[in-house]
């Protein structure tokens, strides 16, 4: 399979993720969109890694690290979502406007 296909898949996923972050109001959905972007980068890395062969094994290792870090990030993110939900009973980011300049 040519690497171009994989790169196109990755950039499409990344763009969908960006759209989701910008268009969604629910914090959980924004979190999901960010995960999509991270996974797009993972595909990108693994594709490049396959392209470089044995030299490019760093790409696969990096993908593993990204998975682990993404989990830690989601853990913290969900904790913050729950914290806000306890007080407001919704997690709409458009309603977060206590602070304005």
């Amino acid at each position: 399979m040519p690497i171009t296909y994989l790169l196109i898949l990755s950039s499409m996923l990344f763009s969908i993720g960006v759209y989701g972050v910008l268009a969604r109001q629910n914090a959980v959905l924004i979190l999901l969109s960010i995960e999509l972007m991270l996974n797009a980068v993972n595909i990108n890395l693994v594709a490049f890694s396959a392209m470089f062969g044995a030299e490019g094994v760093a790409g696969q290792v990096f993908a593993l690290f990204i998975i682990a870090v993404a989990a830690a990030e989601v853990g913290v993110g969900l904790a913050i979502v729950i914290l806000i939900f306890r007080n407001r009973s919704n997690v709409d980011v458009d309603e977060m406007s206590l602070m304005k300049w």
Binding site: N26, L64, A68, A71, A72, G75, I82, R86, V91
Partner: protein, 122 residues
């Protein structure tokens, strides 16, 4: 890189901006605005949530605590698998490294346990 080398990048930026603006404009002009209940639900997977994030009633936060802890501890296996595959080559060196890693996880586990994060009932 010299200036002409940037032309493809410039072209790409213009193209993507125009495409994004055009599709957003088209979406706002062409699509009918129908607010249905399904659209406002947190998960658009087709499964009707019993207590969604948009519901006013309290949801059992215990599930989320357990889910969060699960994510954090579960994901560490991504490092255990490659280690297991390369165990023969890594030999004792790998074992020591992994013991340090698991030791750090154990500290986190002990902390969560002691603080009552694993207690289900009140």
């Amino acid at each position: 890189m010299s200036l002409p080398d940037y032309l493809p990048i410039l072209f790409l930026i213009i193209l993507s901006t125009v495409f994004a603006l055009a599709s957003m404009l088209a979406a706002s002009k062409l699509t009918p605005k129908r607010v249905t209940e399904a659209k406002s639900q947190p998960y658009e997977s087709g499964i009707v949530p019993e207590t969604g994030l948009d519901d006013r009633e309290r949801f059992p936060v215990k599930f989320y605590l357990v889910a969060m802890l699960f994510i954090i501890f579960d994901i560490e296996t991504v490092f255990l698998y490659p280690w297991a595959v390369a165990y023969g080559d890594l030999a004792l060196f790998g074992l020591y490294e992994m013991l340090v890693f698991v030791g750090i996880l154990l500290v986190a586990y002990a902390y969560v346990w002691k603080r009552g994060g694993l207690e289900w009932a009140e």
